[in-house]
Amino acid sequence: MPFSAQPPASGERYALSASLDNARHLSSLLRAVHFQDYATCLATASGLRVTVEDAKCIQANAFIQAEIFQEFSVQEESVMFRISLSVLLDCLTIFGTSSLPGTSTALRMCYQGYGYPLMLFLEEGGVVTVCKINTQEPDELLDFDFCSTKVVNKIILQSEGLREAFAELDMTSEVLQITMSPDKPYFRLSTFGNAGSAHLDYPRDSDLMEAFHCNQTQTNRYKISLLKPSTKALALSCKVSIRTDAQGFLSLQYMIRNEDGQICFVEYYCCPDENITEAEL
C-alpha cells in the first residue's frame, strides 16, 4: 500500500497527537465558531483552542480541554497553525451529521509540525477515512485584553431565555444595542430596524438570571452582522455570561455540555460600534 491507512503509533514524535472517541465532541463546538472559512488552532498541554476572527472587530474561540480527549499530547510548549475550518468540519463530519444513538465517529489527529498537513483518521462502523489538510502560517490574533479585573458589568443568564431572542433578531437593524444597568431596564437588547425599534428586557429578578453584577449603566452598540453567528453557540449552550469592560468591549462566554456531560467553552469578543450614552426609543 503506497499510503498507510493505519494511524501512527503514539510513540512517534508528533508535535500534536490526539484521539477522540466521538468526533462530535469536537465538530459541534467548531460549528459554533464557524463564521469564517479559516481558523487558527493553538494546541497546548491544556487542550485545543480554535480561533476565528472577522473585520478586526470580532473574535470567537472554541476551547476543547485535553480532558475531553482520550489521548492528547503536545510535544513543544505550544503548536499553532492556520487551517481551513470549512474543510476541517467537512472531514470531521464525513460520515454524516445526523447523530444516531450508539454510532459515533472515532478520531485520531496528528500534526508533525510546522509546514506539515494536519492528518485526520476517522473511523465509523469499521470504515476508515484518512484526511490530510494543509496548514498555513498562523496570523496574529487580536488581543482584546479582556480580563476579569476590568469587567464593569457582568450577568449570567440561562441560554434558553436568549435563544429565541437571538434567532428572531431584527436583521434589518444594523446594530444590536446592549444596555446593562443596576437600575431599570437592567438588561436590554435593542434593535432599530425598518419596521421600528424593538427592545427585549430581562429584569434582574427573572428566574433566567443566574448572576447579576452590574455596577454602572452602560449602553453599547455592536454590528448585528458580527454578533449573529454567536446564535449557534447560544443554541448549544446551557448558560451564557455577558460581560462588558470600560471601553464597551463585549465578552460572551457560553458553557456547553456535550453528549457525555462534559463541559466546554466557547467565547465571543466584540468591539463596540460606537459609544453612546442615550438609547433611541
Binding site: A165, A195, G196, A198, H199, D201, D207, L208
Partner: protein, 358 residues
C-alpha cells in the same frame, strides 16, 4: 387580513378595536372588530368634540413580524399591551413573556383616513349560513392557484361552487370542477333561486381559515352579479366582515346604479389607478344620518328585490384598469349623502382613501 392587503389599519372605536385591510385594486375589504370585552383593558382614548379617535395604519409585515411564531407565543407570552402614541408617532406593542421578560416593539405608523367599505347586508337578496368546516371542505377541491369561483343557487335548493373559467379560454383545455351542496348542509338558506356570483377565492380562503380555526359559522350575503358579496362571522366579542367585489355579467354592464343623489359616473380614464390615489374621500358610514349601526347584525329574511332606499350607500364604478382583464365592479366604497350636509359633493369615483401626502 394579510391575505387582503399590505397595510393594516387600526381604528379604535367606542365599540371596540377595528383592524382593517383593503386590497390594492380596492375590490376587497376586510374588517375585524374586537369588542371591548375581548380585552382585559380597553381604553380607546377620548375623542373631543372636534377631534376623532386617533387611527393609523402600519405595514402588515412589520406587525405580523411581532407575532411570528404562534406556538412559541402561546407558550411564552402572558399578555400583550397595545399602545397608540400619536405624539411619538409610534404604535407600541409590548409582549409580557414568561421569566419576567418584556418585548417591546415600537412600530412606525402612518396617519390615515378612515377606511370603510360601504355595504349593507340587509340590501342583499340572498343569504347563506354554514359552518366554516362545510365551506372549507368544499373549497379544498379547488386548486390553490384558482383565482375566482362561482357560487350558484340551483334547483331544489342546491348550492353549487364552480371554478370560474374565462370566456376567452379554450373550453377543451380547461378543467372544470363543480361541487353541489344540499340545503341541509347549511344552517340557513334564504336565497333567490337561479342567482349566482363570482368572486375571488384567494381572498376568501383567508377568512375561511380563520373561521375554521375559531369554529364560527360563516354567513354569505349576496345579490346580483356585480354587487359585492359580504361574508360575515359573528361572535360575542368579535365581528368580522369580508367584502369582495363580484364579477358582473356582460349584459348588466350598462346598468347604472339607481341611487339617489348620485350623479352619473364619468368614463374612467386610462390612468384611473393613479387618479384613485388622488381622491381623498372623507368616509362616514352613515352614523350621522342613517339608523344603521356601522356593523349591522344580519337577520335572515326571505329574498326580496333590491330596494333603492333613500340612503342607499352603494355605488359602483367600472375599473377597466385594475385588474386589466377582469370585468369586476371593484369600487364599492361610497361617500354617503347624509341629511344636513347637502354641501358634501358626491364624488363620482368612489373610494375610501388614505390621506398620504394630503
Amino acid at each position: 387580513l394579510s391575505r387582503i392587503g399590505d397595510e393594516l389599519y387600526l381604528e379604535p372605536t367606542e365599540s371596540g378595536l377595528s383592524l382593517r385591510a383593503v386590497n390594492s385594486s380596492r375590490s376587497g375589504f376586510a374588517s375585524f372588530l374586537f369588542a371591548p370585552l375581548f380585552f382585559q383593558l380597553y381604553e380607546p382614548g377620548s375623542a373631543g368634540p372636534e377631534t376623532e379617535l386617533f387611527r393609523c395604519k402600519v405595514h402588515m409585515k412589520s406587525f405580523l413580524g411581532i407575532f411570528r411564531s404562534l406556538p412559541s407565543l402561546e407558550k411564552s407570552v402572558g399578555k400583550c399591551l397595545i399602545l397608540l402614541k400619536p405624539r411619538a408617532s409610534r404604535l407600541v406593542l409590548q409582549l409580557h413573556c414568561k421569566h419576567g421578560v418584556t418585548k417591546t416593539h415600537n412600530l412606525a405608523f402612518q396617519e390615515c383616513e378612515r377606511l370603510q367599505a360601504v355595504f349593507d347586508t340587509r340590501s342583499c337578496a340572498s343569504h347563506l349560513c354554514a359552518p366554516a368546516r362545510v365551506l372549507a371542505e368544499a373549497v379544498v377541491h379547488f386548486p390553490l392557484t384558482l383565482a375566482e369561483v362561482t357560487l350558484r343557487t340551483g334547483p331544489g335548493g342546491k348550492i353549487s361552487l364552480r371554478n370560474y373559467v374565462e370566456d376567452e379560454a379554450e373550453p377543451s383545455k380547461m378543467m372544470v370542477t363543480e361541487l353541489w351542496l344540499a340545503e341541509d348542509e347549511f344552517q340557513s338558506v334564504a336565497v333567490v333561486p337561479g342567482s349566482h356570483i363570482t368572486f375571488c377565492l384567494k381572498e376568501f380562503r383567508g377568512l375561511l381559515s380563520f373561521a375554521e380555526a375559531s369554529n364560527l359559522p360563516l354567513t354569505i350575503h349576496f345579490d346580483e352579479p356585480g354587487r359585492p358579496v359580504i361574508f360575515t362571522l359573528d361572535d360575542t366579542v368579535l365581528e368580522v366582515h369580508l367584502v369582495l367585489a363580484t364579477l358582473s355579467d356582460l349584459q348588466s354592464d350598462s346598468q347604472s346604479p339607481s341611487t339617489n343623489g348620485v350623479s352619473h359616473l364619468p368614463a374612467p380614464s386610462d390612468d384611473f389607478a393613479d387618479d384613485l390615489e388622488s381622491y381623498m374621500v372623507a368616509m362616514e358610514t352613515g352614523e350621522g344620518g342613517s339608523e344603521r349601526p356601522p356593523s349591522p347584525t344580519f337577520p335572515l329574511r326571505t329574498p326580496r328585490p333590491a330596494e333603492s332606499e333613500p340612503e342607499e350607500e352603494e355605488e359602483e364604478g367600472a375599473v377597466p384598469g385594475t385588474p386589466p382583464h377582469k370585468k369586476f365592479r371593484s369600487l364599492f366604497f361610497g361617500s354617503v349623502m347624509t341629511p344636513g350636509r347637502p354641501g358634501l359633493a358626491t364624488t363620482q369615483e368612489v373610494l375610501a382613501e388614505d390621506s398620504e401626502g394630503e
